[in-house]
């Protein structure tokens, strides 16, 4: 990575000569759609012995969406990183296939709705690319955004809880998780705030032991924000989202200030919150017990709990998986299409398929970080890194939960899990990353003209 600036200098003329990676992107996008179509066919062949009649429609729908998105990138972000869009299309496609497969279990169908939400997501992706020509404009709305985020987070308190968590807003047939949208607004706010105050946050304060502690008047607002968000989320008993926000906050704070003291404070605060919540909330306490002893309920003669069922599903998949449609993840009970969807991936696509999915997330995150580091403006750098970290932490919290690496918290796996708010938000995140990578990779403006 030390040679980054040198290679960048050498790359510009070559990129101009050979193009901007748009053809690579087109080929990869079409390949991603192809993988999804193969997935639909496999589900049909494995369950009915023939290709499903609606595979062509699903494939065509996904293909049209992908090509529209590609056209928008070509038109308005021609220097963008050519890997971002194909990864998003592939992850979304895998998600649609797995949900389509899980629809074959008894219960209501979710794939058509998910395709509708994906369409809205791609629509917003295109809208962001067309309307937001420079990400720095977002800085202006940072505080407004933070306020909206808080409102969004408080709103569900006034709606009935779903599965023990007050994170849903239900309006007739529509329901969404405002926390999903809030996380983007929050990342924008953190990026703007930290870009503006990073010197003060980094330099002031006194040294305790080995750590340079920040000054009280700087620390104050930060603590206030943390308390506000975590407080709201604890009230809603949504441990996953609070963990996500807090992790995002600590990572961005560290990236902005390079102060390890922030990490220490962060760890102390989260430890405090974890102990407090675990002590106060029986819901969370139960999750921790299940995490430590996932098979205890079996030994106690009460049958397998969801974590145990999830582990059974992963194990049954082994290294190569049963093949789509041939697993038994329905045994997990509820939330198989949302919180536990990764268990179906693990069971039916095996460790191989799971590694492929994890690799896609790793690539998406790495490309986000790459764009952030290549950018020049601190706000953009922090925002790109923050959004990439958001994806990484969310994947870790969800996948770690269903794999029994950490306590289970109800959250959605980016792009793959059922859930409209989640898909739409993740398309916006990718749109922002595409926008910023376009700026990061664009040759100097006068050459571009």
């Amino acid at each position: 990575m030390a040679t980054d600036s040198a290679t960048r200098a050498a790359r510009v003329p070559r990129a101009r000569r050979a193009g901007t990676g748009r053809w690579t992107e087109l080929v990869l996008v079409l390949a991603a759609v192809g993988v999804a179509v193969l997935g639909y066919v496999e589900v049909g062949v494995n369950i009915d012995g023939k290709a499903p009649p609606d595979a062509a429609q699903y494939g065509a729908a996904l293909g049209v969406l992908a090509l529209l998105a590609h056209a928008a990138v070509r038109w308005r972000a021609r220097w963008a990183d050519p890997l971002l869009l194909p990864i998003a299309v592939l992850l979304n496609g895998i998600g649609l296939v797995v949900i389509y497969r899980l629809d074959r279990n008894p219960g209501s169908a979710a794939a058509p709705t998910q395709l509708l939400w994906s369409t809205l997501g791609v629509g917003l992706f295109i809208a962001v690319l067309l309307l937001l020509r420079d990400h720095r404009r977002l800085q202006r709305y940072a505080y407004v955004g933070a306020f909206v985020a808080l409102v969004l987070l408080v709103l569900p308190v006034f709606f009935p809880p779903v599965y023990g968590s007050r994170i849903w807003i239900t309006l007739g047939p529509l329901s969404f998780q405002p926390g999903e949208f809030a996380k983007v607004l929050l990342a924008i706010f953190f990026a703007a705030y930290l870009a503006a105050h990073r010197d003060a946050l980094a330099l002031t304060g006194r040294k305790v032991l080995w750590f340079q502690l920040p000054l009280g008047r700087v620390l104050g607002p930060v603590l206030l924000i943390w308390a506000a968000f975590v407080g709201v989320l604890v009230l809603e008993t949504d441990l996953g989202t609070s963990l996500l926000f807090f992790g995002l906050f600590v990572v961005m704070l560290y990236v902005a200030t390079a102060r390890t003291g922030w990490i220490v404070i962060g760890l102390l605060l989260s430890a405090l919150a974890a102990v407090g919540v675990g002590w106060l909330s029986p819901h969370v306490h139960g999750r921790v017990t299940e995490w430590l002893h996932p098979l205890a309920s079996i030994e106690a003669g009460q049958g397998a709990n969801q974590i145990a069922q999830s582990l059974f599903a992963f194990a049954w998949g082994g290294q190569l998986g049963t093949g789509l449609g041939l697993g038994h993840s329905a045994l997990i009970g509820f939330a198989t299409k949302s919180d536990f969807i990764l268990a179906t991936v693990g069971e039916e696509l095996g460790l191989t398929g799971l590694f492929a999915v994890l690799l896609l997330y790793a690539l998406l995150v790495a490309r986000g970080f790459k764009a952030g580091i290549a950018l020049r403006d601190p706000f953009g750098r922090l925002l790109a890194i923050g959004l990439a970290a958001l994806v990484a932490i969310q994947v870790f919290v969800v996948a770690g939960g269903v794999l029994d690496l950490i306590p289970l918290t109800g959250m959605t796996l980016p792009f793959i899990a059922q859930g409209g708010s989640s898909v739409v938000t993740n398309w916006i995140i990718v749109a922002l990353l595409v926008r910023m990578s376009d700026l990061a990779r664009r040759p100097a403006p006068e050459e571009d003209a």
Binding site: Q139, R140, A142, Y143, A192, Y193, A196, D199, A202, L203, V251, Y254, V255, A256, T257, A258, L295, I298, G303, A304, A308, L311, F312, F314, A315, W316, G317, G318, Q319, L320, G321, G323, H328, G346, L351, L354, F355, L358, Y361, A362, V365, A366, F369, G372, I373, R376, D377, P378, F379, R381, I385, A389, A392, I393, V395, F396, A399, G400, L403, L405
Partner: protein
Amino acid sequence: MRTTRPEGTNGGPDGLPGISTTGRRAGTFCMLLIVALALQATRVQVFQKDELDHNAANQRATIQRYSQPRGNLLVAGQPVTGSAETGGRYAYQRTYTDGPLYAAVTGYSSQTYGNTQLEGVYDDVLSGTDPKLAGWAVWDAVTRQQQPGGDVVTTIDPAAQRAAVQGLGSQKGAVAAIEPATGRILALVSTPSYDPGSFAGTSAADQNAWKKLQDDPEQPMLNRALRQIYPPGSTFKVVTAAAALASGVVTDVDAPTDAPYPYVMPGTTTPLDNDTSACNRAGLSLDEAMTLSCNSVMGYLGVQTGLDRMTAMAQDFGFNDARLDVPVRAARSNFDTDMNQSQLALSSIGQYDTAATPLVMAMVAAGAANDGQVMSPQLVDKLTKADGTQVQLMHPALHHQAFGAGVARQLRQLMVDVVENGTGRNARIPGAEVGGKTGTAQHGVDNSGTPYAWFIAWARPAGSTAVPPVAVAVVVADSQATDVTGGGLAAPVARSVMQAVLNR
């Protein structure tokens, strides 16, 4: 909001690392998070796989087992089992065409209570998971192609099986019939029997049927032919005679022996009693002693032969073998290896601690029939794929060469005389040569229990010099009859089983 630092500055404030550095560190941290997930997934999906797959609360193995029709058990080319769609999570459940008739052969395959006997031993073949069934083992492992269940072709002769069941009727007992030249089991019956199809599923009715069978004092699910040992009584005298002949203690079956009367067992003051007064004289020949079933002579000859040679002969016939697999494992038949002479005398007439499964007593008759070559009993001819392609052929195997053809000829003569002139007359078959031995074994405290009635025999068409096509052992336990003797109760059953084979 205005940024306080000029754009494009790479270094951080106060000489601290800039965002390029901290961003890379944070990126590394995020990659480590994903690596941690990959490691945990590997742990669960590779290293803990077996443990989790076989967890009692994991239904997947059971679902897979019943996801397709199970392979069948075949008797004389016809399936005696089947599969029925349940419409439930376990897609197919076992059916039996004639459950009680073949229960001792098939065992059961229940979604609730597991698999036993042939259903258990060949479960991998029947459920299609045995790698032998795969066409391209490696490719099938990659694609996880599930093979249709294979079939198990049994050695059972349906006519002999039916004859045994009908012969035992409502009595409690067992029959084992063997083809002496090969060891193929022709009939395996235990009564009272049960219908293994009655609890094949998971419903409440299945559970009630199971519970009823478990609570039945008659123990219908006990496989008496393979899994229960009984004192063999006088049928064991065939073993004693074989040992005496093979060791040279007796060379001429018609010559008077030096057996005294009364015979007081060594080290005791107790004479060994006979059931019939015809035995109560000294100097009987071996042939007379067998025909009349004389305890005093056979006990004496057993002691003369000695513990070591008696033990060796018993073991050649399958006694003391804890791993007698047909391939369903038979219970261990016992002949004590450490006894004083009076105990040996009692053991030589099938009493004391001597106890045998009907299967092993059928091996005794089969050994005599097959010139001393005791073949390993086997219940299965071959395994095939669903389309009938042979997967594995079972070859006849020698269990032990117990004695030579000369001794075998003498032993057969003794057994023929038992049927022609002695206690086994009820086993006579017109147009056939039949050799056998009766047994009536006392048991219970002070012999208070109803005696076990035994009969072991072989038969071949009259004038034939070929190896007899059938050897059989019958035990009737706890009959309602007032006069319980092997010749009276067991011999007719043996006769009808042998007749069924001879009439093929």
